[in-house]
């Protein structure tokens, strides 16, 4: 809900809840709560818990009715890691302006704040397999986005940048002395960053998107003053997608999504976390071919049927959809998935 307090000041808030397999578990959270003051069209500020602008779809990833696909390309928008990027407690400056000489328009956002992950998200769930149980996970997050509506009608291109410094507080079974029970445990990233480049082209009923994201995660896990492991993850993902509205009620889509991770570990536990540098191995990548159909039964009600044909399962220190807890027999090089999803919006 939101309301205008004055001509330039608007306030609002929204709740969010989900239960996706073992994630979310119906623990509602504040999705966003914002006071927004727009001085000029080219300069405004907003503060509170603010949705983070990152690439084409980060801030709208929950708005299922906007797209043909049931799942956004997981190489760039992993739904299990939604918390990592979805919002920050802080502020934005933003604006948009038309360029002279018919050069289109620019929109910018710069932000800084505190990221706070749900302990029911993917990072905490992956850590739980090692008997590490987070009570909090978050930290400073800042960055910006610049997008250009080009003079070519329907073509948008942009770039986003995010920097973050994350600390997780947990309790864990001390791997050096398992009989001693739980001990305080922390996971500290020194300077994570993500760059994202994107483009979107729409022409009538056709939409083509492409994005590339590189995320670098540099984490140090320790208990008391003992550094257990230092991990450097280099996560790269990109996709190309196309969708076409065949009729008023039917839209079809296809995307190819490619995701890979290299991971290098050091510290006391490094022997248990061998380097992963060969991205051609199934353990270090996920290549996903997706076909999708969306049927709009009503304007407010849609059904989506989607096939995923995946190669690789990417299993490293950084999660991406495949978790050993729900795959006790281990992973296979190829995985097919059928997604059927229905949504209402009003």
């Amino acid at each position: 809900m939101s309301t205008s307090v004055t001509d330039k000041l608007r306030v609002g808030a929204q709740l969010y809840d989900r239960n996706l397999g073992q994630l979310g578990q119906y623990h509602p959270s504040l999705d966003w709560a914002v006071a927004d003051y727009r001085f000029k069209s080219w300069f405004g500020v907003r503060g509170g818990k603010v949705k983070t602008t990152l690439g084409l779809y980060n801030d709208t990833q929950d708005l299922d009715f906007l797209r043909t696909f049931a799942l956004l390309p997981q190489s760039v928008y992993p739904t299990d890691l939604r918390d990592a990027t979805i919002a920050h407690l802080g502020g934005d400056v933003y604006g948009s302006l038309s360029l002279k000489h018919r050069l289109g328009g620019l929109a910018y956002t710069a932000y800084a704040g505190h990221r706070s992950d749900s302990i029911y998200g993917g990072v905490a769930y992956l850590a739980a397999q090692y008997q590490v149980y987070f009570s909090s996970y978050g930290g400073l997050q800042y960055g910006g986005d610049l997008r250009w509506n080009t003079p070519l009608k329907g073509l948008l291109i942009g770039i986003s940048r995010m920097n973050e410094d994350v600390t997780g507080k947990a309790k864990a079974i001390n791997p050096l002395n398992p009989g001693a029970g739980f001990v305080p445990y922390s996971a500290i990233s020194k300077a994570d960053w993500a760059d994202q480049f994107y483009g979107e082209y729409t022409a009538g009923k056709l939409r083509i998107d492409s994005e590339y994201r590189r995320f670098v995660h540099d984490e140090q896990d320790q208990t008391a003053d003992i550094v257990l492991v230092e991990i450097y993850d280099d996560v790269r993902g990109w996709y190309v997608s196309g969708s076409y509205r065949v009729t008023k009620r039917l839209a079809l889509g296809y995307y190819y999504s490619r995701y890979s991770v290299t991971s290098v570990a050091g510290g006391l536990l490094a022997p248990y976390a061998p380097h992963q540098t060969d991205t051609s191995l199934p353990a270090n990548h996920v290549y996903d071919k997706v076909i999708s159909a969306r049927v709009d039964l009503r304007r407010c009600w849609n059904v989506k049927v989607e096939g995923h044909f995946m190669n690789g399962y990417e299993y490293s220190s950084y999660p991406n959809g495949f978790y050993p807890q729900v795959n006790p027999q281990g992973f296979k090089p190829n995985t097919n998935a059928l997604v059927v999803k229905t949504g209402f919006n009003f």
């Binding site: 609002g12 708005l63 038309s98």
Partner: protein, 226 residues
């Protein structure tokens, strides 16, 4: 026969260096508190997409019409979006905390009444709708060199048959004015073609004050069929 009810809306008053687009079926109206008399097509789009909330220093807030020809013409010609796309756009703003769902009204009369009484309101109605109590904004890109003063104006004929059948509406013309002030060329941009022909014939006889160079003007002429 010359008709005394032929009204000149912005004839000779609004001069543009260029014209982005016009719509024959729809006109843009605003509350009297809005200072601007013209709005570019690009700014109009930005106002309705909530990227821009002021015009010439006045706060503006968009207002939608629920359906009908004016609504369809406005979506097609000024926003370049389908109804579904527009609804999705506003829902995106709403659900991400970046904007609001504009007020939606069901008819031209409701839109005009709301705009007339609501400070900053900007909406659109069919060209034939009464604009009593509101101002009609001309669409175009304001000229960098000042407007050309109209010295000689000839009123257009209102064809008898159309008049008798109450067929009227706004005719929009692009007028090319020489440096000396003569009208060199007239192009019909929108409106009834028969009325447009009559209006063009009259406008070709107009004379403007001399200027430094050739300029292009957009002229709107209302044939009041009531």
């Amino acid at each position: 026969m010359k008709c005394p009810k032929v009204l000149l809306l912005a004839a000779g008053l609004t001069i543009f260096a260029s014209v982005d687009s016009v719509a024959g079926d729809v006109k843009v109206i605003a509350n009297a508190s809005v200072k601007a008399d013209t709005i570019s097509a690009a700014d109009l789009k930005r106002v309705f997409l909530e990227e821009k909330s002021s015009l010439d220093g006045s706060h503006v807030e968009p207002l939608l019409e629920k359906e009908g020809r004016a609504h369809e013409a406005f979506l097609q010609e000024y926003l370049g979006m389908s109804e579904d796309d527009l609804q999705s756009y506003y829902q995106t703003l709403l659900f991400t905390g970046r904007g609001f769902m504009p007020k939606v009204l069901g008819s031209d009369a409701e839109v005009v009444a709301y705009v007339a009484r609501t400070q900053g309101a900007i909406g659109y109605v069919s060209s034939a709708a009464s604009a009593e109590g509101v101002k009609t904004l001309a669409i175009g890109v304001p000229s960098s060199n000042a407007e050309r003063k109209l010295i000689t104006r000839v009123e257009p004929d209102y064809p008898d048959t159309l008049k008798r059948l109450n067929i009227g509406g706004t005719v929009r013309l692009r007028v090319s004015i020489s440096a000396k002030g003569n009208v060199e060329d007239v192009e019909l941009l929108g409106g009834n073609p028969i009325l447009g022909e009559s209006a063009a014939a009259a406008v070709k006889k107009w004379v403007y004050a001399a200027g430094r160079s050739r300029t292009i003007a957009e002229v709107s002429i209302l044939f009041d069929g009531r």
